[in-house]
Amino acid sequence: MRDLRSCRRLLLVVAVALAMACNRGGDARGKPTVALVLKTLNNQFFIDMEAGARAAADSLGIELIVQAAEREIDVEKQMQIVENLLQRHVKVLLLVPSGSREIVPAVLKANAATIPVVTVDTRVDAATLRAAGGTVTTFIGSDNEAGGRLAGQFLGERLGGKGTVVVLEGIPGHETGDARLRGFREALARTPGIAIVASQTANWERDQAFNVAQNMLQAHPHVTALFACNDVMALGAIEAIAAAGKTAQITVVGFDAQDEARKAIAAKRMAATIAQNPRAMGRLAVITAARLLKGETVPTEQPVAISLVK
């Protein structure tokens, strides 16, 4: 029986810890609650987005709850988070979908609860949403296709219109990565001297990018450029390129302009990256939520500027 008692005691400790966690969260009386659900918090991009959102929430008097799944690809967990936050009656849902199609049922649940949904960075698949009869109030994000085109144009100029390129893709079916790739391919299609000789996914991850890039270099030793659909993968790839002693031979272009990528560009290990502005996205998302709370109407598309960093 003594063990049963000790078990009870341990669980009480958990309960108390939970209660304390609650107090820490604070009951901001009177403040409207807005939820920001990210893909993950293991990526600097989303951490920056959170920082931008928090700063805006503080100045606008909004109670902001930020949540994310442990794994970027775990749409089901993200759906659970959304469901749980709907139970908490948040006033606006700011959402970065982990899967453009898979998140549609969660959007429908928010619609049913009459909680406006604002998507940030990644769109919900328009056709699936329409077929399901759901609505997203507004989208805030970069024009990823234009970013991909910018990357393609830069490579075309840097390579002097001649060369072979390998590509590291994001998770297949992710609208963000697919759009970047579309834009990139479109730009290179205008430069017939440049061919994409391999294009494979590294699932947005650094360690996978290292391995995939290493394998690509084995298969295509004379490749002259690499485009990665995000900086995390580009940073993995430059390590593989350096290990092969080909840093001078291969022009690497990433996407997102993370701090580490900017440093790599300064160190001449990477040629360029496309700057999105996650902080501005987070800020604009919370400002939009505040406008919706006041009953204002917002445009259905709110682009955030992108630029080439080299």
């Binding site: 341990l10 966690a21 442990e70 749409v75």
Partner: protein
């Protein structure tokens, strides 16, 4: 035997008490927790891992482990998606999904019992093979656009109870009866309790093990149906990490990783504890980082308690 049944009852009672304490704590901490809508929500969220954990309980009771379930979830889902793309009717496609899971499970079982591979290695191999085949079949992309009748599993409710929850509860009832009231159930405990003794007493250890892994594959493919219905999409990258969630539910539920003792009732409570904890932490707005710590702590506490009780039982039976 007497000792172990009494012990089992007490162990499940301890886990149940843990769940109740957790619920009471959340009820006190947030007004949003104890509402009918939220409880239905939590039960629905526990169904995905809850269903896989049924098969995992069988496997762990035999003293094994199945790391391949997450990949099998993806493979079975893709199999269903591809079958539908070939214009096969939904019922046939779902059967293909179930058979896919069972085949993967049987392959695990054969590698372990006939090939004498350690379960960790055999299922680690299957984890990679099944994931790879899922990616090949789906060409790396999610398959979407499923018939509304499948979606109904996720959207329909009976007396306010989500369809997925009813499926889960029905499966737990069946598994409980199989483990406690059938010869096969006794054999599972016997093989896990002492494999040599079981073999010496004439039990066909091989077929018991193969059956346990087949059940694990089957429950993974049933989970797939719930998952596909929920997301309206079969992803070749679905289910990553589910094996660990399922193992955690089994362990929190008091089933010993050494095999031979435990129950599916405990596993169900274990799965509910994990969902309630995640739900509660979301409702409280606790940071995602802290949530991972909390879940890890609960798993470790559960096993600590389990070990303490186990030592006690050994003292009593001696």
């Amino acid at each position: 035997m007497l000792v172990s049944t009494r012990w089992l009852a007490r162990r499940s009672a301890g886990t149940m008490l843990g769940l109740l304490v957790l619920c009471a704590g959340l009820w006190a901490a947030t007004p949003y927790f104890l509402t009918a809508a939220n409880l239905a929500n939590v039960a629905e969220q526990s169904a995905i891992v809850g269903v896989i954990a049924i098969g995992m309980t069988f496997v762990i009771l035999t003293g094994g482990i199945d790391l391949s379930v997450g990949s099998v979830v993806a493979l079975a889902g893709v199999a269903i998606g591809v079958s539908l793309r070939q214009q096969l009717p939904l019922s046939i496609a779902l059967c293909i999904g179930l058979v896919t899971g069972i085949i993967a499970g049987i392959a695990n079982g054969v590698l372990i019992s006939v090939g004498k591979l350690p379960p960790f290695i055999a299922t680690l191999g299957m984890m990679s093979v099944a994931r790879g085949i899922a990616l090949i079949l789906a060409d790396g992309r999610p398959i979407s656009g499923f018939p509304g009748s499948l979606r109904a599993l996720a959207t329909n409710r009976v007396l306010g109870i989500p369809g997925a929850v009813l499926v889960m509860l029905a499966l737990y009832a069946v598994a409980h009866i199989v483990l406690t009231r059938t010869v096969f159930g006794r054999l599972v405990y016997a093989v896990g309790g002492n494999e040599e003794a079981a073999a010496l007493s004439g039990i066909n250890v091989r077929s018991v093990k193969i059956a346990a892994y087949a059940i694990s594959g089957l429950s993974a493919s049933v989970c797939t149906m719930l998952l596909v219905a929920r997301l309206d999409s079969a992803q070749p990258i679905a289910g990553i990490g589910y094996e660990l969630d399922a193992i955690a539910a089994v362990v929190i539920g008091g089933t010993s990783l050494l095999g031979g003792s435990g129950s599916v009732v405990g596993t169900l409570i274990g799965a509910l504890i994990m969902s309630v904890l995640r739900n509660g932490l979301n409702l409280l707005g606790v940071s995602s980082y802290v949530q991972q710590v909390a879940i890890g702590v609960v798993i470790v506490i559960a096993v600590l308690v389990d070990m303490a009780l186990h030592r006690r039982v050994q003292r009593v039976s001696r």
